[in-house]
């Protein structure tokens, strides 16, 4: 296992994009983990210094209620990473399950599941999420749940295609001849060999979930109990004329985080599927992406 990891790192290292992206995400994760140490103030604590420009006391200035923007940006990384990773994780699990069953069993079940997948792909994801959250009220967990429910189809299609490719190969037939059950074949034999497109897809999903969460928060549907970058941008909208810093820094944070995950996706793609060198953005996932 260690050997394989080292091999993987060796081929991953060759992609500059991937390494830069990895560095960005690592930095982001560190900031999120040590937010209490890095942030100078509680992001919610109010003060009399409203709309102060960036300076020694407030690195990124303050907003209209005198809250320190730097602290907000630091704590906001937690929200974005949480939403990004949990959404991508949950939707990947569902996608693997549905795509795997559809691809492995084929026939009527496959038809049914794929029609369902197509239905979820054509509905406008962002609007459905928006309306559901507006109706049911907003919390981080609600946002994660809704985004995960709406973003599994891509993974399901990718994984199904891999399963279809692999299920007639010799090692699978051998496993069946040895008397392995369907579930064991699917999860122990096929799954490890079908993971690379799914892994590449995870980083795209994380990036997209971060953007979607920011967009929902920007429209006033963010979790009121947590400081998120999208909420900060929504606040900033009224003060664009007086206070450029209120919008610039949280937005920059979203941009960097999304950039980081996109770059990692690119690096992973080069390392895991060396034949499909498409640089910067993978076309197969891009083609089917939906909001």
């Amino acid at each position: 296992m260690q050997h394989r990891l080292r091999e993987f790192w060796k081929s991953y290292r060759r992609s500059i994009a991937g390494v830069v992206g990895f560095a960005i995400i690592l930095a982001l994760a560190l900031v999120a983990a040590c937010a209490d140490l890095i942030a100078p103030a509680n992001p919610f604590s109010l003060s009399r210094d409203s709309l102060r420009p960036p300076g020694a006391q407030h690195l990124m200035g303050t907003d209209d209620l005198g809250r320190d923007i730097f602290s907000g940006v630091v704590y906001g990384s937690r929200v974005s990473l949480l939403v990004g990773f949990l959404t991508a994780g949950a939707s990947t699990l569902v996608g693997i399950l549905i795509g795997g069953i559809a691809g492995y069993y084929g026939g009527k079940l496959d038809d049914l599941l794929m029609r369902l997948t197509e239905f979820f792909m054509v509905i406008p994801r962002f609007f459905l999420a928006l309306v559901i959250i507006a109706l049911f009220g907003s919390s981080i967990w609600g946002i994660i749940l809704v985004l995960a429910i709406l973003s599994w189809p891509m993974t399901a299609r990718l994984f199904r295609a891999e399963v279809l490719r692999l299920k007639s190969q010799e090692f699978v037939i051998a496993a069946r001849a040895m008397g392995c059950g369907d579930l064991r074949i699917l999860f122990e034999q096929i799954l490890p060999n079908a993971l690379s497109p799914v892994i590449v897809n995870i980083s795209v999903q994380v990036a997209y979930a971060i953007i979607l969460e920011a967009g929902l928060s920007f429209l006033g549907l963010g979790d009121p109990a947590s400081m998120s970058w999208g909420v900060m941008l929504a606040n900033a909208q009224q003060f664009l004329r007086q206070a450029w810093w209120t919008a610039t820094f949280p937005g920059l944070a979203i941009f960097l985080a999304v950039l980081g995950f996109n770059l990692v996706g690119d690096g992973l793609n080069d390392a895991l599927n060396p034949r499909l060198k498409s640089r910067v953005i993978r076309i197969d996932s891009l083609k089917l992406e939906q909001a």
Binding site: P124, G215, G220, L233, Q237, V258, L286
Partner: protein, 302 residues
């Protein structure tokens, strides 16, 4: 989609009758009367049937806030959004394909790398933040463009100057909204071009001694553009989502602003109506693209 809509209304917390009346301390009998008038005392299946019938007749209900017909509110806003989305979609498709073709002409050249860089930024930048940046620096700081709305309210221009004025207001929102699709289209056109260029028939054309320009622009380009057309339908949902955010930044008086106001006022009939109308448009656009694609590409058969 209609059923999804219906289920959402019924699963949502709170009784529509109570929401409808607000917290005015109304008597229990009055609530009951309203429930009967709204048909809420019927079984769910009957309600679904009535709801579907109403939608087919174009009745999306009334706004809680303004008491106007939801359909009328939506139709009023459609032209502004279509102008924004249409302009962004057309421009980003045209320029995206041009950039992609330039990239594919000399892969890994300076121009290609610049394009990749631009695509990466376009692909990672949130639409609304890009809008805010453009607004802050090009409009508020430098005063090159109007900041809000679709027409200058103070001057009330007419005739030709009206169109020029709208065009002037349109530039920044289109830039903000279009960059992402510019990136998507240029990446896709590039990949599609490179794929086609590696096919046998292109090699044959080259072997026949045709000039490279002819092979590239005549033989390859045509077939490479085919898959790009599919992006149109697929992207429509995404671009509508981007339009809502862009409209929120620039106070563009389209469906997005209507939606934003409905979110803030918790005006559910308007929200549900918008969801229904936009989903229908997106699903129809997907269908049309599929049919168009099958029509353009004889290899696809249903």
């Amino acid at each position: 989609m209609i059923i999804v809509n219906f289920l959402l209304i019924h699963l949502a917390p709170g009784d529509p009758a109570t929401i409808f009346l607000g917290n005015l301390g109304t008597s229990q009998e009055y609530v009951q009367a309203v429930r009967e008038r709204l048909g809420l005392d019927q079984p769910i299946s009957v309600q679904l049937f009535i709801y579907m019938g109403n939608i087919l007749r174009g009745d999306l209900g009334f706004s809680y806030v303004s008491q106007e017909r939801v359909l009328k509110l939506i139709l009023e806003r459609v032209p502004a959004t279509l102008l924004l989305v249409g302009t962004a979609l057309v421009l980003s498709s045209v320029f995206g394909v041009i950039l992609g073709v330039i990239s594919a002409r000399r892969p890994y050249s300076l121009a290609d790398n610049l394009n990749s860089f631009l695509a990466l930024i376009g692909y990672s930048i949130p639409v609304f933040w890009l809008g805010q940046l453009l607004l802050m620096f090009l409009s508020l700081k430098l005063g090159l463009f109007p900041a809000q709305g679709m027409v200058s309210l103070r001057r009330m221009p007419t005739g030709l100057s009206y169109y020029l004025d709208v065009g002037h207001h349109l530039i920044l929102p289109v830039l903000a909204l279009g960059l992402r699709y510019l990136a998507v289209n240029s990446r896709y056109a590039r990949a599609s071009m490179l794929e086609v260029l590696s096919l046998d028939y292109v090699t044959t054309a080259r072997a026949k001694g045709l000039p490279e320009r002819r092979v590239f622009y005549r033989h390859a380009l045509r077939n490479a553009l085919l898959p790009v057309t599919t992006l149109f339908g697929i992207n429509l949902g995404v671009i509508f989502a981007g339009a809502v955010l862009t409209e929120a930044v620039f106070a563009w008086p389209g469906l997005g602003m209507l939606m934003l106001n409905a979110v803030y006022a918790r005006d559910y009939p308007v929200l549900m109506g918008l969801l229904l109308v936009i989903s229908t448009m997106v699903i129809l656009a997907n269908l049309v693209t599929d049919i168009l694609y099958a029509f353009l590409d004889p290899r696809i058969q249903f």
